[in-house]
Symmetry: C2
Subunit: 229 residues, 2 copies
């Protein structure tokens, strides 16, 4: 929790508050209080409120980029890589929920100009990497070649993001039972995607992902977690 230097504590407090309440709802005084510093000291380390916000955002981006870069381990079968990616991505959203919310908030606020910058410098690299995985799957015949790979990527990411951002809502729906089990969500998501994506004339449902029985393998998410560390 408490980092040694005040600067770190300020950044941490700002990250918490900004992600929880948004930029305008958080005062520099509140940040200083939570960080255990004086307001003037906050301005000593960060020249303006906006500079502090940008510093927090920068950390979020770097964190996101570095983490997603670690997902490149993939040489296994396509289904496995897909499940790994989906599981890791969702797990990361949930683990770093403050940063995730921060970025989702940004998404709602930014205009076209900042969007382009954000797209090019931060997200496109990861998105493209994912798309390339999918294209590789198409090339090797493990994925329907007529599909738009970016489309598939969008669906998968969208499902994960929606799971994350609407989870406090979905949790209350009678029909929803998977909210407390992200791994199960990932598993079902990949199952659904695969059988829509699979190239074979018959759905590949009978073909096991990892050589176990006909049921969708229950431990892909666990495998993803294992692979990550």
């Amino acid at each position: 929790m408490s980092m040694g230097d005040a600067r770190g504590r300020i950044l941490f407090a700002a990250e918490e508050l900004f992600s929880e309440h948004g930029f305008d709802a958080v005062s520099m005084n509140a940040i200083a209080l939570r960080a255990g510093a004086s307001k003037a000291n906050v301005f000593h380390h960060f020249s303006t409120k906006n500079a502090l916000y940008l510093a927090v955002l920068l950390r979020a981006r770097q964190e996101a980029a570095s983490h997603l870069r670690s997902l490149e381990h993939g040489n296994g079968p396509f289904a496995r890589r897909l499940a790994d990616f989906a599981g890791s991505h969702l797990a990361r959203l949930l683990e770093q929920k403050q940063l995730s919310r921060l970025i989702l908030r940004e998404l709602l606020t930014i205009g076209p100009h900042r969007a382009q910058e954000l797209a090019e410098h931060v997200f496109e690299e990861n998105f493209r990497r994912f798309v390339l995985i999918l294209r590789a799957g198409q090339g090797s015949g493990e994925l329907r070649p007529d599909l738009d790979a970016a489309m598939v990527a969008t669906i998968l990411l969208g499902a994960n993001v929606f799971f994350f951002e609407a989870r406090t809502l979905l949790r209350h729906f009678r029909d929803v039972e998977f909210m407390e089990k992200p791994e199960q969500f990932t598993e079902m998501l990949v199952d659904i995607l695969l059988h829509g994506i699979g190239p074979s004339p018959h759905p590949v449902r009978s073909r096991p992902l990892r050589g176990s029985g006909s049921r969708i393998n229950r431990d892909t998410a666990a495998a993803a977690r294992r692979n990550r560390k």
Copy 2:
């Protein structure tokens, strides 16, 4: 633009500003200016800033509920109903982007308590209605019975919401070509879902989803034919 009474103009201005910048970033003065009224008059019609915000939010909810209720016309084949639902939902997100953003903003802010209220009073009804459509599809054999219907609903809604909220970003990605054509997005989405959802050995592929057998899915139709053999 200009509605007759000042109260209406205030509500309209508030809706614009709140959805664009968020609650805390908008001052009552700004709302009054945009509405062409004095700040005191705004307080004459709405006792507090929060009351005004709630009034805007209430309108958004009612609007959302009434519109989704109009989607219940469904007696056609399952694939058609699914495409209709997805298409209408996405179209509505894009048409009413101010209200949509408003609600997405709320989702990021609310705590568990307000979430429950919001869930029960506004969204669950629509969500459940959609789930029932899916369950009906399962009952009539048009949809894989082993799937969690709520899960399928979440994926579809998530894809649409993500399309909406990330569209300023996605538009800049080289791999993404469908951002300017929501109908094409819906079509591909439903295609992917259907072939993952269809009952196992022979997926039900209803003919054209939308009235005209348009050029739209020459690729996907070809793939469907390929998959069938």
